[in-house]
Structures are given as structure tokens and as C-alpha cells.
Amino acid sequence: MTMAERLSRWKDEGAITPAQLEVLGAIVRSDRFSVSLELNALLYVGVLSIAAGLLWTVRTHFAALGDTAIVAALTVIVALCVGYCFSHAQPYSSREVESPTAIFDYVLYLGCLVFAIELAYLETRFTLLGDSWDAYILLSAIVFFAAAYRFDNRFVLSLALSTLGAWFGFKLTKFGFQSAESLRVSALIYGALVAGMAVGLRRLGIKPHFVETHLHLAATAAFVTLTSGTRTDLGLLYLAGLLALAAVSIAYGIRQRQFAFVAYGAVYPYVGLSLRLTRHWGNMATFGYGVVSASAMAVLVVVVARRFGRDA
């Protein structure tokens, strides 16, 4: 039975109204065909391509073009983007805000990318901040966060979160902490901060639709860090942290029906525990362990999936 036939039957049974049949029937038969997603994808790739081209051009031709021309051109682009956004933006709201125009989100994203390029150029060419050069990364992150929250833009939010991550990494290495251990500590602090922001946002009711983005990034940073640490001298400490985080993640995932967190909580601790346990084992014992443990985990996840996560 085709979907069009189903719709007719549901209408006959009174499950949908004639008006709904008309709208849904047009979608199913492709009488109405939306190219919204395709146009958004073109805009996104277009903006990324423009930013990549600008970066490439500036890197290659800055000597020929001269600082004044480059800084002026980049400033004009940023100013135009910012001007467009402020002139078209809807008033701030803590709730989700629809984009006022089709290109609004992409203009803002382009403005932020070009701003980052310009700031990086200024810092590298003129070293305005001296030894505090990493402050421009933090400044970029702050500007991106402000723009993401003011204009309700998830692209810029992702940019802000990754820029903040970059600042954490460089801040620690700047102070001479260049070992893998210090990078792990840095990543854990970053994860905690981003997760803390998510909790704060939820409590304050500010942009609640941003919370999941924060939590996914925080969870990924923390799980990867803790898992990679299980084979070090401090492995037991990392393992304990990993198991504790897994428990929290699974509980949160089941309660909020966000099953990505259940999956994180199942896979990462398994990998971490297995890396720790099989450190000194031979091939046969390791393979045998793999068969038994992965089968047990599969059964466990099936039970969880049947109990809580049936929705496809």
C-alpha cells in the first residue's frame, strides 16, 4: 500500500481531515516539493568557500596586497555582515527565534569567520598583544558566544565552542604544560565548563535549545579524555572518573530520552576498561575477552534498548 493510499484510508476513517489530506497528499505525491534544505546547504557551503578563499588569498598575497588593503577589506566585510544582522535582527528572546531572512544565519556566520581571520592576521602581523597573544582566541570565543546567543545561531555557537576549546589547549601549552597529561586536564576543565554552561542555561531558561549542543561537546571531550587516560600511570583514577561519568550520562540519557548519552555511557567505558584490563594480556586472552565482554555489552544494550529506547 502506498502512502497516498494510506492517506485516503485515514481520511475515510476520520483519522485526518480533508484539509490535512490535501496538504499531506501533495507532499507524498511530490506535487509540492521543498528545496529549502538544498538551498540552505548551498548557502552554507558558499559561505565556507568564501571564508576559505579569503584565508588562502590573505595567506598567499599579503605581501603584495599590503596590510592596509587586507585589513580594510576584511573590516568592510565584517562591518557589512554585522550591519546586516543588526538591521534585520528580531529583538532578543531567551526562547528560540526564527531567522528573519533566509540568508541571515549565513551572513552572521560569514561575519564571524572573517572576523576570526582578521583577528588572526592582526595578531600574527603586528603582535599587538605581545605575550598575551592567546587572548585574541578568547576574545574571538567571547564575541562568537555573544553573537550566537544574541542572534540565535547554531553555526556560530559551534564556532564559539570550538574556539573556546582551542583557547584552553593553547593556554595550557603556553604555560609549559605540553604533556599529554596536561592536555587531558585541559580537556576535562573545558568539558566541565561547557557542561556547566549547559546546566546554567537550562536553569536560567536561556536558549534551552542550545543545551544539547553544549552537552554533546562536553560529553565527547570528557569521555575521550578519560578513555585515553586509562592506560597511563594514573589509569585507575581516570577509570573511576570514566565509570562515574558513564553512570551520570546513562541516567541523564534515559531520563531525558537522549539516547546518544546512553550510547556514550556504554561505549567509552567499555573501551577504557578494556584498554586497562588487557594491557598485559596475550592475544588469545584479549580476543577471548573481546568475544565475551562485547557479547555481554551487546545483550546489556539490547535490554536497555528494549526497555527504554524503542523509538526509532
Binding site: 494510506r6 534544505l37 602581523r125 564556532l159 593553547f170 568475544v291
Partner: protein, 393 residues
């Protein structure tokens, strides 16, 4: 042949559509729940994240079980490893089918892992059991590729995994490169294989219009078309497109024929996609247009300029805004049924959320490391003595 009843799969697909419509406000929640309840099946399913987790654990089981047998029986000879892989492949394929038949698992991850890795084991086993040598071709690779294509097609027919069909098409097309033919001929054979797959899938799509089988056939059709383009675009095989240089070693006639093809294929494909309102073909041909624009200069032997991506980006933005305005300028906001406005909002939003997540990777900030001196003397144009030639930022 399929392990699942067509009616069940249609119900699953219909339920997913009803959920999207409900989330998008096209159906009110109470009606949506009632309709979805009427579409229930006995199939056991889960959400995509637990499916991925189960696929990972299933993969570990397959790898560890095979490794355990190899170590336990001290298998090291190539032919024995090959036979073991074949036996393991068959065993895991049977196990996957048992899980489906016995427990009615549907896209549950674990049975998918067994089915997918059974293909890999069979292909590796067949390749290891084939003696090398012959007439210049790579016979073991050819046998492995053909085996993978047949086994993947079997998995698609039995389980309905679309990615298995994609793998079958890719393996069949790539097998042509192990026949020991000339560089021109191997691409022609590969393109012919993909053209046959495209034609068959297109026929099937039109036969099963508006059904899940038709959707699968449409996806295979689009991928085969995209593969056909990839095989014929000689510049794509030269590595990362923005950095490829020069003309590969092909005959002049073949080279310029492919140049014509990379312009013709997207044009024909876009016309077909618009006429048939075929979304997957629309995506495939949009990618092809972008690839043609990106590889045009190297095809002609021209140097790429640093501002090429800027022009390319401006073109994409102009096309997107132009098409949107043109469609909206019609009296009722659509032309021939095409509209730039989202119809099923939740589906578009999910895709854009995924795009926003990918945006984490687009990070233009690349500061120098601690202790690293600026590449250029502050305020000047390049390293001293280098005339600015080695300058970078």
C-alpha cells in the same frame, strides 16, 4: 528473498513519516499518536544511537571471535586463513539471519554488524584463496572485489540495508580497475558497470513509485550516477581537488571526451531530477556541478587562483538566493510545485542541526604555538632577506 515483509517495511516507513508530520505540526499530536499506533509491527527496533552502539559491539564480537580462532588454532598459512575467513563470513551471515528470523530484529545494529562483516570476511577470504599472477591484472583483488559486490548485493536483498547496495555498486565498479586493462579502458568498463546499475535502479524506481522499494532504488540510482561521474572526472582521482595539477596520462580523445562528460552528466542529471522531483538525484547532481566547477581549471591546464573559492562561494550564494527569490516570486509561492519554504519542518531542522554540528570543524583560527616566532617581522612584508617570498601568516 527479503527477510522482512514488504507490508511491515511500509508500515515502518509510514510511521516515520507520520512522526515527522506530527513534529512539524502538519498533524495534531493526538491524531499522530492514533495513526502511529495503527502502524505498529512485530519488528523489534531501536533508536539510531543505540543502533550505532550495538553495531560497535557486534563489530568487536566478529573481530575478536575471528582473531581468537586464528590464535587458538595457530593459523598462519594464507590459504587456511582464507578458508577460515570464508567459513566465518558464512557463519556470521547465517547468525545475522537467525537473529532477524528468531527475534524479529529490524535495523538493530548487532545483526547489521554480523551481516556487514560477513561480507568483508568473504571478500578477504576469496582474495586470499585466489592465486596471484595472470595477465597483468590483480586477480586476488579482482576476486575479492567481485565477491564483495555479490555478497553486498545479497545482504541488501536479504536485509534491505541501503549501504550494502551502495557497497555492492562501488565494489562492482572498482573491480574494473583490477582487470589489467589500459587506463582508458578500465574507466570505460567501470562507467559501463555503473551505467547498467543506474538503468536497472531507475527502472525499478519507476516501477515501485511511492513505496520503500522505490525509495531504495532511487537512492541506488543516484549513487550510481554520482559514481559514473566520479569515474569519468579524471581530475578527481588526482587527489585533493584544489591542489591537483597537470594532465593525467590518458589518450587525448578520451581525456576531452571525459571533459565533455563532466559538464553533460550534471546537466542531464539535474534535468531528470527536476522532472522526476527526485531529491537524491538533486543532491547527487548538485555535488557533481560543484565538482565540475572545482576541477574545470586543472582539466584545462590552467593555474588555480587563491580567489577561486571566493568566486565559487559567491556563485553558490547567488544561485541559492536567486532560486529562492524566483520560486517565491510566483503568485502562490511556488513554481511547478517547487517551493523554497520547508514543508516538513522537523526533517529540515534535523538536517540543519547536523550541519551546525559539523560547523565545529570549520575553525579558521590557527595561532602560533608557544615559543614560535611570528612568520613575518611585525609591520613588514616577509622574512628578512627573503624579499617577502617566504612570508606567511
Amino acid at each position: 528473498m527479503n527477510l522482512y515483509a514488504t507490508a511491515d517495511e511500509e508500515r515502518v516507513q509510514a510511521a516515520a513519516q507520520v512522526r515527522e508530520w506530527t513534529q512539524s505540526g502538519l498533524l495534531d499530536a493526538s491524531r499522530g499518536v492514533t495513526i502511529e499506533a495503527g502502524l505498529r509491527t512485530d519488528l523489534k527496533r531501536t533508536n539510531r544511537y543505540l543502533r550505532i552502539a550495538l553495531f560497535i559491539f557486534g563489530t568487536i564480537v566478529v573481530a575478536a571471535a575471528f582473531g581468537f580462532c586464528m590464535v587458538a588454532f595457530d593459523v598462519s598459512r594464507g590459504s587456511v586463513v582464507g578458508w577460515s575467513a570464508v567459513v566465518a563470513g558464512v557463519a556470521f551471515c547465517v547468525l545475522a539471519q537467525l537473529l532477524v528470523v528468531q527475534f524479529q530484529l529490524y535495523r538493530f545494529g548487532v545483526e547489521e554488524a554480523f551481516a556487514v562483516w560477513s561480507v568483508a570476511l568473504l571478500a578477504v577470504g576469496a582474495g586470499l584463496l585466489t592465486p596471484s599472477g595472470g595477465n597483468g591484472g590483480d586477480l586476488p583483488m579482482l576476486v575479492a572485489g567481485v565477491t564483495a559486490a555479490i555478497a553486498s548485493a545479497f545482504v541488501f536483498v536479504r536485509f534491505g540495508y541501503l549501504y550494502a547496495a551502495f557497497a555492492a555498486a562501488a565494489c562492482a565498479a572498482l573491480s574494473a580497475f583490477n582487470l589489467g586493462l589500459s587506463r582508458d579502458a578500465e574507466r570505460i568498463v567501470s562507467a559501463c558497470v555503473l551505467l547498467v546499475i543506474f538503468t536497472v535502479a531507475r527502472t525499478l524506481r519507476r516501477t515501485h513509485d511511492q513505496s520503500c522499494r522505490g525509495d531504495d532504488a532511487g537512492a541506488i540510482e543516484s549513487l550510481a550516477w554520482l559514481g559514473l561521474y566520479a569515474v569519468l572526472n579524471l581530475q578527481l582521482s588526482l587527489g585533493f581537488i584544489w591542489y591537483s595539477r597537470g594532465r593525467p596520462d590518458f589518450s587525448s580523445t578520451f581525456y576531452w571526451s571525459t571533459y565533455a562528460a563532466i559538464w553533460l552528466l550534471p546537466a542531464i542529471g539535474l534535468a531528470l531530477a527536476v522532472r522526476d522531483r527526485h531529491r537524491m538525484m538533486l543532491w547527487a547532481n548538485t555535488i557533481m556541478v560543484a565538482a565540475t566547477l572545482a576541477t574545470n581549471k586543472p582539466y584545462l591546464g590552467w593555474n588555480r587562483q587563491t580567489w577561486d573559492p571566493i568566486l565559487f562561494g559567491i556563485l553558490l550564494v547567488a544561485v541559492a538566493t536567486g532560486v529562492r527569490r524566483w520560486l517565491l516570486s510566483a503568485s502562490d509561492g511556488h513554481r511547478g510545485g517547487f517551493t523554497p519554504l520547508p514543508l516538513v519542518v522537523s526533517a529540515d531542522r534535523q538536517a540543519l542541526d547536523a550541519l551546525a554540528t559539523v560547523a565545529v570543524a570549520a575553525q579558521p583560527i590557527a595561532p602560533r604555538m608557544p615559543g614560535e616566532t611570528p612568520a613575518v617581522e611585525p609591520g613588514r612584508g616577509g622574512r628578512s632577506g627573503g624579499g617577502g617570498g617566504g612570508a606567511d601568516f
